[in-house]
Symmetry: C2
Subunit: 136 residues, 2 copies
DNA sequence: TATTAAATGCAACATTGTTGCATTTAATAT
DNA sequence: ATATTAAATGCAACAATGTTGCATTTAATA
C-alpha cells in the first residue's frame, strides 16, 4: 500500500536498491499473496539467488511476510501492520481457496489472543481453506 | 496410539506393507511431530522415493497429517481424530517452541469453528510459536 | 497356488535453496 | 563533486528436496 518503497526501505535500515523496490512493487501489486515461482517468473531478469536473498531480507525486516500453504511453494504478501525485524504481527487469516487457488490475507475480523495453559504463546497464525468470496 | 497399524492400514484400504508399518511406528513413537529429515535418517535403509510416496499416501488416507512450520521442512504426526481421504480434522494447535524447536500438537482446548463473512471455511489450522511447557 | 493390482527400488530429472567470492553500488563523509 | 566503505549483486558450484518412468516384487484375493 505504501507508495514510496525507497523511504520504507530506509526506515527499516535497508538500502533502497532498484531490485528491492521492484520486488516490493511486484508483491504489493498482486491483490493476493504471491507465489515464489510467480515472483520469479515476473522478474525473470533478476538473478535467482538475489531474489532469494532479497525476499529473506524483506521478511527479516518486517516489510513482507511469508505464508506457507502447501509444500515447496512459499507465498509472500506485504505487511499491513507495523512489523519489524523483532516481530511480525499478523492477526489475520491466510485463506487458500480450493477453487481458484488464490491465497489471500483476510483481515475482516481481529483475532483475539490465543491462550494455551502452560505455554507462552508469542505469535500465532491461522490458515484456512475453503471457497473464497469471489468463487462462491 | 493405535497398536495394530496393519489393521489400521487395511481399514483405510491400504496394503499393510512392512514399510508402511515401520513408518507409522516411527512417527507414532515420536512424542512431537517428526521432521521429514529425521524420519529419513531414522529409516535410512528405506528408499527415499518410497518414503516420499509412503508419506503422501498416509496423509492422503488420513493416517498421518503434515505440518508446515518453516520452509523446506515438513513435519508429520499421526492423526488422533477420525481423519479420512475425504478430509482431515485438526481442531488443535500446532505449536513450535522457539527454544527446543519441537513441534507439538496441542489439543488441550477444542477450537471453535472459524467464521469469515462471505467465505466458506472448510478447514482451518492454527500454528503458534513461543515457549513450550517443558521449556518454561 | 495362481492372479493381479499395488507397492517398491533404482535411475534420471526438476525444482528449491545455500554458500563463496569477485564486482558493483547506495549511503555517508570529506 | 569525490572518496570511502559496508552492503548488495551476479555468477558458479553445490546440496537438499521432490517427481516421474519403468522393471521387479509383493500383499491381498480368488
Ligand atoms: Mn499476512
Ligand atoms: Mn496436529
Ligand atoms: Zn477462489
Ligand atoms: Zn520447548
Amino acid at each position: 500500500m505504501a507508495a514510496d518503497w525507497s523511504n520504507e526501505l530506509r526506515t527499516k535500515n535497508l538500502k533502497a536498491t532498484p531490485n528491492r523496490v521492484v520486488v516490493l512493487e511486484t508483491i504489493a501489486g498482486n491483490n493476493a499473496a504471491m507465489a515464489y515461482s510467480k515472483i520469479q517468473s515476473d522478474l525473470s531478469q533478476l538473478d535467482r539467488v538475489t531474489l532469494y536473498r532479497t525476499l529473506n531480507s524483506l521478511v527479516d525486516n518486517g516489510l513482507i511476510h511469508k505464508v506457507l500453504v502447501e509444500e515447496n511453494e512459499a507465498f509472500y504478501a506485504t505487511c499491513s501492520s507495523n512489523c519489524s525485524s523483532e516481530e511480525h504481527h499478523h492477526q489475520h487469516v491466510h485463506f487458500r481457496c480450493t477453487n481458484c487457488k488464490e491465497v489471500t490475507c483476510v483481515s475482516s475480523q481481529p483475532i483475539n489472543q490465543l491462550e494455551i495453559p502452560g505455554y507462552l504463546v508469542q505469535n500465532f497464525e491461522i490458515q484456512a481453506t475453503g471457497v473464497c468470496n469471489l468463487c462462491l
